[in-house]
């Protein structure tokens, strides 16, 4: 590494260390109730009504534990040319 590159790398490192942007200003706190003003949804079951409101309400109770391989990842698995790269939890 040349002295010029060392200088550039050092300056970048210094800038990152002194940057206030990436430093979290506060630690999260637990507690409290979050209130949302909304019109009445037509239903709460997203399987009964094709509408964004039941889906939005249900998103609080439903999670995303499963992920499915898709796109190029699926093609690789089908052809047996590779293993899934889909993130798992």
């Amino acid at each position: 590494m040349t002295s010029r590159s060392v200088l550039v790398v050092s300056m970048i490192a210094l800038a990152l260390l002194t940057s206030p942007i990436d430093v979290p200003a506060q630690q999260p706190r637990s507690g409290g109730v979050f209130r949302v003003g909304v019109p009445d949804p037509p239903a709460l079951d997203p399987h009964l009504v094709v509408n964004f409101l039941p889906q939005t309400v249900a998103s609080l109770a439903y999670g995303h534990l499963l992920r499915f391989p898709a796109g190029p990842d699926l093609a690789r698995r089908r052809s047996g040319s590779g293993t899934s790269t889909a993130p798992r939890r």
Partner: protein, 355 residues
């Protein structure tokens, strides 16, 4: 309602409130930070804004969206409130029964599009902050959007152009105006008429959108009677294409794949094909982009779809606008992402009134 999400439904009193409590068994330890979430049922937008100003609620809309007008007004009266303009991936349009007269005639659909003065619309209702070239691919989907400069001008004018004279000419060609060529204003017969179904509860500026559309269409000879519907009816009928003549409203705001705006809105069997489009040439492209695994090749097909649709006016796009996502300053960690998933956003949200 109990699932694997961050909260559990505790109670629902229709017309009053929906109460969620923290899921004590949530799989991510320490989350959510909130003890609970309450949806206060307040049908009126002005009342919701008043509650937000008074610190009685944290969001005045499902995802905190406000119109530019409301967002700017809120910032004037309550400068402490955090207001973040954000262009979301959604579209707004007039949708028509393209499978029935008169809108199965492309001249009539094009006339409707040419009647809309989108630039003035943007200035009058959106402070010039709107996106005029707003469909079929949303402005916010920049990786898929074909820039208007890459479209043929002769086609492009039917997408976002304003030419009321040509609109009248097209209607006359289609047989809907008589005596038009003699003394235009005196003999204009509003022979194309129909109802415009909509849900008035979509947040501002949608009520203004409906009224402005009726006014602009009336000027070229398309007489519109605005027909407001209850949400339950709109959701199960009009919004899914079960209506007569014309309807209007937004679409998207929660869907996140460009396919939702293409196959979802244009393929014959898709539930959101509200305009009843059935175009064999288009169908090949819609299926093609679904089956193409190479992202670059798929993008080219998506661009080809936009070129193909530019002059078809199956849907007549109207300007869309940034949402002013607004919440009090003590709300922390609330990050917007497109999608219906409010639960995920609130998983990482906390309240800190210490400052």
């Amino acid at each position: 309602m109990i699932g694997t999400g961050p909260f559990v439904l505790k109670s629902y009193e229709r017309g009053v409130r929906i109460v969620f409590e923290r899921n004590p068994d949530y799989y991510m330890a320490g989350l959510p930070y909130l003890d609970g979430v309450t949806f206060e049922i307040v049908p009126d937008q002005a009342a919701r804004l008043a509650l937000l100003r008074a610190g009685k609620i944290e969001l005045a809309h499902w995802w905190g969206f406000l119109s530019p007008e409301d967002g700017k007004a809120l910032k004037r009266t309550n400068p402490e409130i955090v207001v973040s303009p954000h262009m979301i991936a959604d579209v707004g349009h007039i949708f028509v029964r393209a499978d029935q007269p008169p809108f199965n005639d492309i001249r009539v659909r094009r006339a409707v599009s040419l009647a809309l003065d989108r630039k003035s619309w943007n200035e009058a209702l959106l402070f010039g902050e709107g996106c005029i070239d707003s469909g079929p691919v949303p402005c916010a989907m920049t990786e898929w959007k074909l820039d208007a400069s890459k479209l043929d001008a002769a086609q492009h004018k039917y997408l976002i152009g304003y030419d009321p004279a040509e609109a009248k000419r097209l209607l006359a060609d289609a047989g809907f105006l008589r005596g038009f060529s003699a003394t235009e204003s005196a003999t204009l017969i509003k022979a194309v008429s129909g109802t415009m179904f909509h849900w008035p509860g979509f947040p501002p500026p949608w009520r203004s959108y409906y009224e402005l559309t009726a006014d602009l269409l009336g000027k070229v000879g398309v007489a519109i009677e605005l027909k407001p519907e209850e949400l339950a009816k709109y959701s199960t009928t009009t919004g899914l294409g079960k209506f007569e003549k014309m309807a209007m409203g937004p679409y998207g705001a929660g869907v996140t794949e460009v396919d939702d705006f293409l196959y979802g809105m244009f393929f014959p069997e898709a539930p959101w094909n509200r305009s009843h489009v059935n175009d064999a040439e288009l169908n090949k492209l819609l299926l093609g982009q679904r089956r193409e695994l190479d992202p670059k090749k798929r993008r080219e097909i998506v661009h080809e779809i936009q070129r193909y649709l530019a002059d078809k006016a199956y849907y007549i796009s109207v300007p869309m606008y940034p949402r002013y996502i607004s919440h009090p300053p003590y709300v922390k960690g609330f990050k917007h992402h497109d999608g219906y998933d409010l639960g995920r956003r609130l998983t990482f949200t906390w309240i800190d009134r210490s400052r």
